[in-house]
């Protein structure tokens, strides 16, 4: 490691300023098309967010009909219904992150330890199948499994326990939601980790084994540090986007009996918007959520930089 560092500094001092400028120009040229894309297709439409501060009338001017200042923000900040669904969004998103983040990583590590390539390929391939099932079919399956005559309740009664009405008890919804999220995304998430695992130098394992490390110690001292940049990047990004809970899945699964834990911001806005097209209100809430996400990403990034040294910037 030290030898590489010195090599780097030695090479750096050998650089001629003209070549560096030329390199930069070519690098900048790579940025032209993507930045143009960002500006046109991402930043230009952002002007539409202005309707959060104006009164948007459906079918009228797309930038709204007049300034209302922070009225929309006040409306939702003082609305207890909003805070209820905000709480649910945070809870569901947080639980999905807490329990869902480690699963693909663990699965990838376990797969990495499998000796038979055939078995490894088989498990990899089947584990990502749920990702491809249409969300409507997944919702139907979840309703089926959790019904009074479904597999789970059959199992419970065969074990001598009482049947549970899962879809009518608000307490169970987070479990059902997070469980189905993990199930649907775990195999897919492993793909990235498996790709990252291939970048680890094999000779490091050899060295560790020679030093007497067992499997678990090898994982701890070689594997995990090797894929740390990927883990950290994913963690930071997932923390930032944790409030984007699946709108459609919840819409298909929820019912009034479980609104108290199942209703999230997006489904609430859907019900509100069905009759009134309250785009200004939705835009104001959108800005609020975006700010939260941005703050979370920046904070997570800062913490990560202080503790592990890895960071997005």
């Amino acid at each position: 490691m030290t030898s590489t560092a010195t090599t780097r500094t030695r090479a750096a001092t050998r650089h001629h300023p003209p070549r560096k400028r030329k390199v930069n120009w070519q690098l900048y040229s790579l940025l032209v098309l993507p930045v143009a894309w960002f500006l046109i297709f991402r930043y230009v439409p952002m002007a539409g967010n202005i309707i959060a501060f104006r009164n948007y009338v459906p079918g009228g001017n797309i930038f709204g009909e007049g300034w209302v200042g922070f009225a929309n923000f006040e409306m939702f900040l003082t609305d207890p219904s909003f805070w209820q669904v905000f709480g649910n969004t945070v809870t569901l998103g947080g639980l999905a992150l807490l329990f869902g983040f480690p699963v693909p990583l663990i699965l990838a590590l376990l797969l990495n330890e499998v000796r038979s390539r055939g078995f490894k390929k088989f498990v990899q391939t089947t584990s990502y199948l749920p990702h491809f099932l249409s969300i409507v079919i997944v919702a139907g399956m979840v309703m089926q499994i959790t019904s009074m005559t479904g597999s789970v309740n059959q199992l419970l009664s065969s074990l001598g326990m009482d049947k549970i009405a899962f879809m009518q008890d608000p307490a169970w919804f987070p479990v059902i939601y997070v469980g189905s999220e993990i199930w649907q995304t775990m195999g897919w998430g492993t793909i990235l980790y498996l790709a990252a695992l291939t970048t680890i130098d094999e000779s490091l394992y050899e060295a560790a084994r020679i030093d007497g490390a067992n499997r678990l110690q090898q994982i701890w001292h070689v594997t995990l540090p090797g894929i740390r940049p990927t883990i950290v990047t994913l963690l930071i990004l997932n923390i930032g986007t944790f409030m984007a809970v699946g709108f459609e899945k919840i819409l298909l699964l929820y019912n009034p009996a479980i609104y108290s834990t199942a209703d999230v911001i997006s489904t609430y806005l859907y019900r509100v918007g069905l009759q009134s097209g309250s785009f200004s209100y939705a835009a104001a809430i959108g800005i609020f959520e975006a700010l939260i996400g941005l703050i979370l990403v920046l904070s997570a990034n800062l913490i990560s930089r202080r503790t592990t040294g890895a960071s997005l910037w």
Binding site: L33, Y128, L133, S134, L192, T198, D201
Partner: protein
């Protein structure tokens, strides 16, 4: 000069060996596994068994529902209604497959999906890779600004109507461009790629610079060949996302002969299910779409894209850096 050829020879050797289906680094691999067989402790054996058990459980949980859908697609409707179909088809029925595949609109839409996916993935890969590479270079001035530019868009967006007005104003509606360009770059993917590029030893590129390679040359001839794993992953992610996407096409296309097959599928499945929650108006309209038809359409739509991953698995090869920085 020496380093260059060594790199390329390592690169091609590794590809050849993978194509032949042989393990990439026989020496390195054997050392791990041979080490394992020789000195395998009881703890390691237990770990191995538990590992396999856990993985088999994961397989059961993920494979089972998928097999159920396939079984439903091959079963007669009456058995599905009775709830008698689990992973084996009952009342063998391939007529629905024939009927769905006989619908010319299905094939038109299918062809659209293939074209959209191919074009969109190519554009996305191109833009994302050059952007990720550029921002992964620490010597880029204003690097933080560009990264921030991208990250900011992960949270703030303009909403549906401004985007529609923009695309419409650019005269892209009802063309393929409305489907493949507005969502071309996923910042998530870009940041992942960036972290892979950053993780590459810089000696390689410095050596290439000394050799007189331009930035483009370095990227094309050094960096990309050594990034096969992440490129393959990103290709897979984009391809699947584009294959499954329906919303872009739904809002920007007005003609059913331009729709991708995912809209066809969604109309079938989601349309039928929205009736139950949308009230009397919706329910009066909809005559039932059988579970059998839904399953068939789903299987037909999903099958091709499922096959992409096993195809690209060969690029998930380890030890790409072996030998490249020795000495």
């Amino acid at each position: 000069m020496v380093i260059n050829s060594e790199l390329t020879s390592v690169g091609s050797a590794e590809v050849e060996e993978t194509l032949a289906g042989q393990p990439v680094q026989p020496r390195a691999r054997a050392s791990r596994s041979s080490g394992a067989t020789v000195g395998r402790s009881r703890g390691e054996r237990v770990f191995g068994v538990v590992n396999v058990a856990v993985l088999l459980l994961a397989v059961a949980v993920t494979l089972f529902p998928f097999l159920t859908v396939i079984a439903q697609s091959l079963s007669s409707e009456k058995y599905i209604d009775m709830g008698a179909v689990s992973i084996w088809p009952r009342g063998w029925n391939i007529d629905t497959y024939k009927v769905v595949m006989a619908d010319p609109m299905f094939w038109t839409n299918y062809r659209n999906t293939v074209v959209y996916t191919a074009v969109a993935t190519a554009i996305s890969m191109f833009l994302s890779t050059i952007f990720a590479y550029a921002i992964s270079k620490k010597e880029l001035r204003g690097r933080g600004f560009f990264i921030g530019l991208a990250v900011f868009t992960m949270f703030f967006s303009g909403g549906l109507i401004p985007n529609y007005v923009l695309v419409n104003g650019l005269h892209m509606t009802n063309t393929i461009w409305a489907v493949v360009i507005p969502n071309a770059i996923s910042v998530f993917n870009v940041l992942i790629m960036k972290s892979f590029f950053e993780n590459m030893p810089s000696e390689l590129e410095e050596a290439a610079a000394i050799d007189g390679l331009s930035v483009y040359g370095t990227l094309w001839r050094i960096v990309l060949p050594l990034s096969k794993a992440v490129l393959a992953t990103m290709f897979l992610f984009y391809a699947v996302a584009n294959w499954n996407s329906w919303f872009q096409a739904f809002i920007y296309l007005d003609r059913s002969d331009m729709f991708p097959v995912t809209i066809y599928l969604r109309n079938l499945i989601a349309g039928a299910s929205s009736a139950q929650t949308s009230g009397a108006n919706a329910a009066s309209d909809l005559t039932g779409i059988s579970a059998n038809i839904k399953a068939v359409t789903m299987v037909l739509t999903v099958l091709p894209i499922l096959c992409v991953y096993p195809f690209i698995q060969r690029y998930f090869v380890s030890g790409v850096m072996l030998g490249s920085v020795k000495g």
